[in-house]
Homo-oligomer: 231 residues x 2
DNA sequence: GTCTATATCGGGATAGAC
DNA sequence: GTCTATCCCGATATAGAC
């Protein structure tokens, strides 16, 4: 039987195409990434690419789909195990930063960088919206769990938007300085401040409720990053 | 003398080209914006565009240059008149949000959205870096003035980066929801929190110092946008 | 499933009349 | 300064042998 090896080779080619396409599209954007670039980068001829995918838009959709799968697998869905708010927040931010560090291209693609409006067809844009919304929902559920905001959906929404905008901005900065990572410390400070500003009780943060500790501390709580972010 | 009208017409054509090119490039990105799109959008034939500008890259550089001029004119350079930290912060954020609201395309272009890496040539990328750096410098000087950080340049740098990343993220969000504006309230809350976290004394913010007012006010101070932004 | 070869179209850029 | 007409190349996509 030679069918199995052939199928295997096809699947590996498909993966290779998606790998290089994701790399190139996240770096150059959808419009600036040509099929020939993908072809020369991954070694396979153009028509093989068209055998695996109907069109350029099809490649893009497939890249998005796989990036979503990988990324959502890397993001524990809003369980946030810690008992303390600070611990849960650290776990959440650690997950976010870990995903950003390990799958930066996926983050860039899912946040919609790389496409601008009608570059791609309507179907592709709809997919981008879907995946982007999925990320937003994950962030909203996570912060809702971190700060116990079941009855304050507006606050959860604002905190999630705030977090994702910082993430987007950092992804943009990565275009110019590839070494940039998502800094968790500013978010660890500002998210509780935002929550407190909306009247959400937050323990261990500089809010007027508990005057016992006046100094927030120069050093962060030094909670170790949660292991297990890398599957 | 017919020279004056002719020159005037040429200058107006040049402006029209830059207007439409800036609009299209900020919406579709550099690579996805074609000369023919610009031609049909502004009415002038392709060769007229090439008479005014050497190449597509030349158009892009000119668009960036003009956006920088307009934007930096709309941003009072780090004077920040208020006596109180809160007042100065409000003025700063009001200026930033006003510029974002009135020149969103310029902000998008200067922040580097619309180009991804080597889309344009090396010269254009260098220009993007220059202009982006100018924006960063403006933000750093502004926050330095707001929080009196002459002797804490590191803190000024972090606050400026934080602010511009939020701005970048908001600009990205504008691709998907064109109505999105730069929200000043989260920044008004989080910037003092970040400053306080670094040991910078901040008066009138929800830090343990002054518990008199806990609510900074739901409504914005309604500081008028600076006039004279549109020449 | 993979390759060579090719059709077709649109992009950037130029020539030269007016 | 503006227009028409054109060159050249690269991009998407397809045909058909292997």
């Amino acid at each position: 039987m030679r069918q199995a090896p052939a199928q295997d080779r096809g699947a590996r080619s498909r993966d290779a195409i998606l790998d290089t396409a994701g790399e190139l599209m996240s770096r150059h954007g959808y419009a600036a990434t040509s099929i020939s670039m993908i072809s020369t980068a991954c070694g396979l001829p153009v028509s093989s690419i068209y055998w695996h995918f109907r069109s350029k838009e099809g490649i893009y959709v497939a890249v998005l789909e796989r990036a979503t799968t990988v990324l959502l697998a890397a993001l524990p869905p809003a369980e946030v195990p810690g008992a303390d708010v600070t611990q849960r927040l650290d776990a959440f931010l650690s997950n976010l930063a870990g995903a950003f560090r390990q799958h930066p291209r996926g983050v860039q693609l899912l946040l919609g960088l790389g496409v601008v409006q009608k570059d791609a067809g309507a179907a592709a844009m709809a997919e981008v919206h879907r995946y982007r919304d999925a990320l937003v929902a994950w962030a909203r559920n996570s912060v809702s769990s971190v700060f116990a905001l079941r009855d304050r959906p507006e606050v959860a929404d604002e905190l999630a938007r705030f977090t994702l905008r910082m993430t987007s901005g950092t992804a943009v900065a990565r275009w110019f300085e590839p070494d940039v990572v998502l800094e968790t410390e500013p978010l660890r400070v500002t998210l509780p401040a935002l929550a407190a500003h909306h009247g959400v009780p937050v323990r261990g943060t500089p809010v007027e409720g508990g005057p016992g500790e006046d100094a927030p501390g120069e050093d962060a709580p030094a909670l170790g990053v949660t292991p297990g972010t890398a599957p």
